[in-house]
C-alpha cells in the first residue's frame, strides 16, 4: 500500500466515523421531535440526554474530515471546493441553526416546541444534502475546462440516482440512531424508551437494506464503472449482510431492557456499515471524483503527509484518555443517562 492509499484510507475512516456519529446525532434530534408530545415521552428524554454532551464531539469529526481532505488531497479539495459553494453553504446554514438552537433550548425552555422542530427537520435535511456528494463523485455532473470546474446542478437534481443515495442516507441515519438510542435506554434502565427504539431498529433495518439495493440499481449507465467495481467487491458486501442478520437477530432476541447481549447487536450493526463502506470505498478506487480526480493525482507532497500523520497520531494518543473519561461519565453512566426521569 503506498502513501496516497494510506491517506485516502484515513479520510474514508473519518467519513465512516462521522457517518455513524452524525447518524446518531441527527437521528436523535429527529426522534426528540417525534416523541416530544407523545405518550412515550421517555423516548424523547433519552434522545435529549444523549444529544446534550455529544454534538460538539460529532461536529469535530466534520471539521476534521474537511481539514484532513485539504491537507492530504489538496487538489481534490480544490475541485470540490470550487463547485460546492451553494450546497456547502446551505449545509453550513442548516447546521448552524440546528446547533445554536439546540444550545438555546438548554437555557430557555419557553420555545422548546419550536426549537425541537427545527433540530428535527434539520436532522433530516443535513444528511440528505451531505449524501449528494456521492452521486457527484460517481461522475457525470462535474466538468472542467483547464483548472476551472463546473457542476451541473440541474443534471444532478434531475437524475434519480441522487435520490436513491439520499434515501439510503436518511434510512440508515434513522436505523443507526434507533439502534444506539435503544442501547442508551438500556444503560439508563428505561424500559419504555428501550421498547420504542428497539421496535424502530427492527423495522428500519430491513428497509434500509432494501434502499441500499435501490442505490445499486439506480446507478446510471454513465457510471457503469462503479457498478462493475461494486460487484467485484461482492464478498465484502456478503460479510456486511451477515453482520446485519446477526444484529437484527440479537435485537429480536433481546426483548427486555435487562439483556446485556443487546450491545453485541450494536457492534454487529457498526461492523455491517464498516464492511459496506469498505467495499464501496474499494470499488471507488482509484477515483475520488470520476474521472478527473484520482487518489494518486491529487495527493499532497510527502513532507506534508508525514508531518500530518505525525500530528494525527500524537493528537489521537493525547485525546484518547480524555475520550475514555468522557465515555464513562456520560455514555456508560446510569446516573447520567437515567437522570430526569
Amino acid at each position: 500500500m503506498n502513501e496516497a492509499l494510506w491517506g485516502i484510507s484515513l479520510i474514508w475512516a473519518l467519513v465512516f466515523i462521522y457517518a455513524i456519529a452524525g447518524s446518531v446525532d441527527f437521528g436523535a434530534g429527529f426522534w426528540a421531535m417525534i416523541y416530544q408530545r407523545h405518550k412515550d415521552a421517555h423516548a424523547a428524554t433519552i434522545a435529549n440526554r444523549y444529544l446534550s454532551p455529544l454534538w460538539e464531539v460529532t461536529n469535530v469529526f466534520l471539521v476534521l474530515f474537511a481539514v484532513s481532505l485539504v491537507g492530504l488531497f489538496p487538489s481534490a479539495a480544490f475541485a470540490l471546493g470550487s463547485v460546492l459553494l451553494v450546497p456547502g453553504d446551505l449545509i453550513l446554514i442548516l447546521l448552524t441553526i440546528r446547533t445554536v438552537f439546540m444550545a438555546y433550548t438548554h437555557v430557555v425552555h419557553k420555545f422548546q416546541y419550536l426549537l425541537r422542530i427545527i433540530s428535527g427537520v434539520t436532522g433530516l435535511l443535513i444528511p440528505a444534502l451531505l449524501m449528494t456528494v456521492f452521486p457527484i463523485a460517481q461522475g457525470g455532473y462535474l466538468s472542467h475546462a483547464g483548472e476551472v470546474y463546473h457542476l451541473s446542478l440541474s443534471g444532478l437534481l434531475a437524475h434519480w440516482t441522487t435520490y436513491t443515495y439520499i434515501l439510503l442516507g436518511i434510512l440508515s441515519e434513522l436505523f443507526i440512531s434507533s439502534v444506539v438510542l435503544a442501547d442508551y435506554a438500556r444503560v439508563a434502565e428505561d424500559p419504555s424508551a428501550y421498547r420504542v427504539y428497539r421496535r424502530h431498529a427492527l423495522r428500519l433495518g430491513p428497509v434500509a437494506m432494501v434502499s441500499a439495493l435501490l442505490v445499486l440499481w439506480g446507478i446510471p449507465s454513465s457510471a457503469s464503472w462503479l457498478r462493475n467495481d461494486l460487484f467485484a467487491q461482492g464478498w465484502l458486501f456478503v460479510v456486511s449482510g451477515i453482520f446485519f442478520i446477526i444484529g437484527i437477530f440479537i435485537f429480536w432476541v433481546a426483548r427486555s431492557v435487562e439483556q446485556k447481549v443487546y450491545r453485541l447487536g450494536v457492534i454487529a450493526v457498526v461492523l455491517q456499515y464498516a464492511f459496506a463502506m469498505l467495499a464501496y470505498g474499494r470499488a471507488h478506487l482509484p477515483y475520488i471524483v470520476y474521472p478527473g480526480i484520482t487518489v494518486q493525482g491529487s495527493f499532497t507532497n510527502v513532507e506534508m503527509f508525514r508531518a500530518a500523520l505525525l500530528v494525527l497520531i500524537i493528537g489521537i494518543a493525547i485525546l484518547f484518555p480524555g475520550f475514555v473519561w468522557f465515555w464513562r461519565l456520560f455514555l456508560e453512566s446510569k446516573s447520567y443517562a437515567g437522570e430526569g426521569r
Binding site: V63, G81, S82, M304
Partner: protein
Amino acid sequence: MADHVLLARMLFGTSLGFHIIFATLGVGIPFMVTVAEVTFALTKDSDYAIMAKRWTRGFTVLLAVSITTGTIVALQLSLLWPKFMQIVGQVIALPFLIEIFAFFIEALFMSIYVYAADRIPQRWRIISVLFVAIGAAASALLITDANAFMNAPQGFRLVGGKAVDVHPWQAVFNPALPTSDLHVWMTAYMTVGFVTAAVAAYGLLRKARSDREREHQYKSLMISLALGGFFGLITAISGDGAGKSLAHYQPEKLAVAEGLFNTQSHAPLVIGGWVDEATQRIIGGVKIPDMLSWLATDRLDGVVKGLNDFPRDTWPPLFLHLIFDGMVGIGTGLIFLALFAWLIKTVRTGQRFPFPTWLLYILVASGPLAMIAIEFGWVYACIGRQPWIIYHIMRTADAVTPAPYVGWMFILFMLLFLLLAIGTINVMRGYFRRHPLSEEIEPGPITAKRVVWLP
C-alpha cells in the same frame, strides 16, 4: 452587480468578523472562570463560585455560537478560496489539523465541566475548566498562526502553481508567528476582562439592589478590571513587538497604518487625521517627530519604508490609518481606565462602594469598546494585507471560487448572523432575568477563609 471578488471578500469578512466576537469571548471566559474557581478554592468565598457558575452559564450559549461560526469559517475557506486552500493544504495544513485536537480537548472538557460538575471533586473541576481554557487558547493561537503565515509565508517555493521544496514546520514557525500569537492571545484576555467588568458595572447601575448583591458585583468588577488592566499592559507591549515585526516583514502594512508615503529616517508618528492620496500627506492629526522611527526600529534616526517604494496596485486601502489608530486609541484608553479605577479604589479605601455613578457608566462602555478594538485589529490585519491573500505570493482575486451565487449566499449569511445575534442576546437576557443574582448568592454575610488576593 457588485464585483465577484468583492462579494466573496464581504461574505468571508463578515463571517470572520462575526465569529471573532464569539471566539474572543470563547478564549477569555474559560480563563476568567478558571481564575474564579481557583479564587474560590483559595478563599472559600462562595461569591467566586457563583461568579464561575454564572459566567459558565453564559459561556455555554456563546460557545455554541462560537463553534458553529468557527465551522462556517473553516469550511467557507475551501468554498470561497479554493485556490488558496490548495496551497494551504500543501504547505500550512498543520496548524489547522492540530487546532482540531485543541478544540476537541476544549469541547470534551467543556462537556465534563458543565454536565458533570456535580459528579466530580473540586480539584477535577478546576482541572477540567483549566483544560477548556488551554484548549481554547491553543485553538486561537493555531488559527492565528495560519494567518501569520499569510502575512509572512515561508517553507516552500511556488513553481507553476504547485508548491515544491515544502517544509511544513518551517511554514508553521514563520517569522510573524510570535508577535501575532502573543497579541491575539493577550487581547482576548484583556477584552473579556473589560466585557465582564461592563456586565458587573451594568448590574451595579440598576436600581433596587441589595447591598449584598452590590458587594458581589463589586468583587466581580474588581477581579475583571484587575485582569483587563494587567493584560492590557501586556497587550501594549505585544502590540509594540507586532509593529516592529511589520516594519521588517510587511512594510506596506505599517506604512498604510501610519500614512507614510516616503521612505525616511526620523519618520514622525501622526495620530488621527485623514490620509490624502493626491497630496501624499495626512490632513489634520497630531504629529510627534521621530516617534514612528523609534517605534519601528528602536532608533530616532531609523529608516521606515513608505508606500511609494511599492507599486501603486499593491497598496492597501488608505483608510486603514484611522482603523489602526482607533484600535491603538481604544486599547490605550482602556489601560488608563483600569489604572484610574484602581486609583479611585485606593483613594477611597474606607468606602464599601467606591465608584461614582459616572465611572460605572464609562465602565459599561468599556466592554463593547474593547470588542470594537478587536474588530479594528482584524480589519487592519486582513485588509492591510490586500491585494494579497498570501503576501507577495498569491493575490486574493486569483484565489476566489468560480462558483456563481456568491451574492445570494452573502444575503443568506447576513440573515443567519442577524438571527444569531438577536437569538443569542434574547436567550441570555431571558436566562439571567429568570435567574437573578439575588436567588443564587448566599443571603448572609460571607465567611471567607482568606481575603482575596487580587486588588
